[in-house]
Assembly symmetry: C3
Homo-oligomer: 274 residues x 3
């Protein structure tokens, strides 16, 4: 599966406009290039509308937020909406500071996101503040496990219905869903949490995959999650052979993104539809 998704990225080489943090920005740019797309990082309000206009998708990542770039995120997001470009939000650290939580709410109010990707805490923080917790809303209290999976799927589908965005909660088990359909993905490796940027790189890949597949946002997002997780597994296998540590692991993950193809993906994908 996802043959077409991968192929479209390689053939169309979508331009991905990213307004992102300065910690992992280099890894994000290299991940976007590795999968066959092309990155443009631009965060000044004097140019973000023009830059996003020549791109195929927009990624907004609040990892190192400041007031200057919030207005750029708003401008770029609105322009991308006008142009029907896929827009992806990574609410890094939402819930960790009120500044990040409030900014996430502001973004959600002003920009229509095609995809929101975060870990459980971040998605919960956004969910809580978005006015959707009242009444009978599903809730998810912890990391997603086999035990609370059914419950979590209901929560994600429900939140997707309310936001109109594909919701991707990633962790040991990933759930990617719209209001009707959820993909459960079990690729990945625990060591991925020991390098900075695996989440940000995944969001960048989602931006790239959606940019090349704007009519299949759910599948494009799921495909990106599978690719990232599988690259984490393949890199871990190779890492054992060279007796490497976490920095070599990072290098190998990006290497495998650049070498990914349908055959490898089909051989390693662990996905079910619910």
């Amino acid at each position: 599966m996802f043959e077409k998704i991968l192929e479209n990225v390689r053939i169309k080489t979508p331009l991905v406009h990213s307004i992102t943090n300065y910690v992992t920005v280099n890894d994000c740019a290299n991940a976007i290039l590795a999968c066959g797309a092309s990155p443009i990082m631009a965060d000044d309000q004097n140019e973000v509308e023009e830059i996003t206009s020549i791109c195929n998708s927009l990624v907004i990542n609040i990892g190192t937020l400041n007031e200057r770039i919030i207005s750029s995120m708003m401008k770029a997001g609105k322009k991308a909406n006008e142009l029907n470009h896929p827009v992806v939000l990574d609410p890094v650290g939402a819930g960790a500071s009120s500044f990040r939580t409030k900014t996430s709410f502001n973004l959600l109010e002003n920009v229509k996101f095609s995809v929101i990707r975060g870990n459980t805490s971040e998605i919960k923080a956004i969910h809580k503040g978005s006015g959707t917790t009242k009444g009978v809303d599903a809730d998810v209290s912890d990391a997603i496990t086999e035990t609370n999976l059914d419950e979590a799927i209901v929560f994600v589908k429900d939140f997707s219905k309310k936001t109109g965005s594909i919701i991707a909660i990633t962790g040991a088990i990933d759930i990617i869903a719209d209001e009707n359909k959820a993909y459960v993905i079990r690729n990945g490796n625990a060591l991925m949490s020991k390098i900075t940027g695996t989440g940000c790189m995944l969001t960048s890949l989602i931006g790239a995959f959606c940019g090349g597949n704007s009519d299949s946002i759910l599948d494009a997002t799921a495909a990106a999650v599978c690719v990232m997780g599988l690259c984490g597994e393949l890199a871990f296998e190779k890492l054992q052979k060279v007796d490497g540590g976490t920095s070599t692991y990072r290098t190998f993950i990006i290497d495998y993104i650049s070498k990914m193809n349908t055959e490898t993906l089909n051989g390693g994908i662990k996905i079910e539809s619910r």
Copy 2:
């Protein structure tokens, strides 16, 4: 030695708040993760107090200084002081511009630092301006060598007494001291100066080690210096086998940080107490 220091970092996984430069920030985040701690980079004044409150230590690095983040450094530093969190200063380039030198003085006046780490020039620049050079103060005029070591130790202890901070001067020979006790460390490799960020990564490790050992700041700082130096040695050995250059060297250094344990450390540590 330092078994407990290392163990505490791995067990407690301290959160390290870093306000640092955009040149080496990714390496710093990965070094913090590699040693078993967890990094948060946040530099906006709207959130630094809240972020530092959920952390275990704070690292302030002035590598790419600008006015916006100076106020964030002040706010975060004062808050961390209130909460008795260890605060580490890396006065990158103090002495190279009056902006950096003055900012270092301002920081020293407003924030109580647990540790100040720099090379000889940076520490001298801070020493000069901190009003401690008058009278009979010890001075150190050059890089630390076996010849001027005794003199340098007196200088470092003396400066520690005046600032109330652990002082760490690092170079070919490292001195880490409080007013009573100095560690002299001879780990490291000359090639470390051919990659950017070894100093910044070391400061980050100090932040992580102090975050997990807030009651043993001197030993935590010395342990971090030993780990960084030994990783530089081990990485150099491995580099010869693969005929690599400086970028592979950087990768191997972080790899060894992630693989460091008490046995390896005890096997390679070159430290004496004076």
Copy 3:
């Protein structure tokens, strides 16, 4: 050839002041160190004049432009001109947004650049707005190929005459020229376009090489272009042996910069003078 150029960088270890983007800044710093020079990144207007005064050259790269750093670029550029330091411009994305194009023009009006390096689109965007397109000016409409090479050389020499800067257009075929002499260089590998920062790193190397050879700007620029291209070739060869991907490729490129010497350069250089 270029023995003296390389040797001067290693012997003089020029300090290179860089005001550059946050995407590839770490790679740029490591490339500068790898070739034997020393980087200082500083972008605040409170210190750029002082910092550039202690350096040997200045690199201005507009990759992630914002208003704050434009004034720093102006100040640093004027100061470097006063001191007769080589100043190198990388107009990243000129033509992609009017903000970048206009800023490039402003920089060109206020600062005298020793070297301007870009891809064909960027150089064309600058050329167009610099008032040189009227009349009989040579023009270059596409990527440089063997077919339009003669035409392109005339264009580059002509543009160099008008700006008084060495012009370096890099791509599959590189042209580096002043008004009288052009070097055509055919080193490099197509995979270089699949990692971020090869252009930025090249510009940084040019800054380093010019900093160590301020009386031979044309040759220093050509040497840097040859070194970068050859490292791309050598890294590609080694990459095949380890079955690596794009991130390992980046590592190997910087490795080879750090291991470059006259013998290797002479053995692989593909340059002609026109």
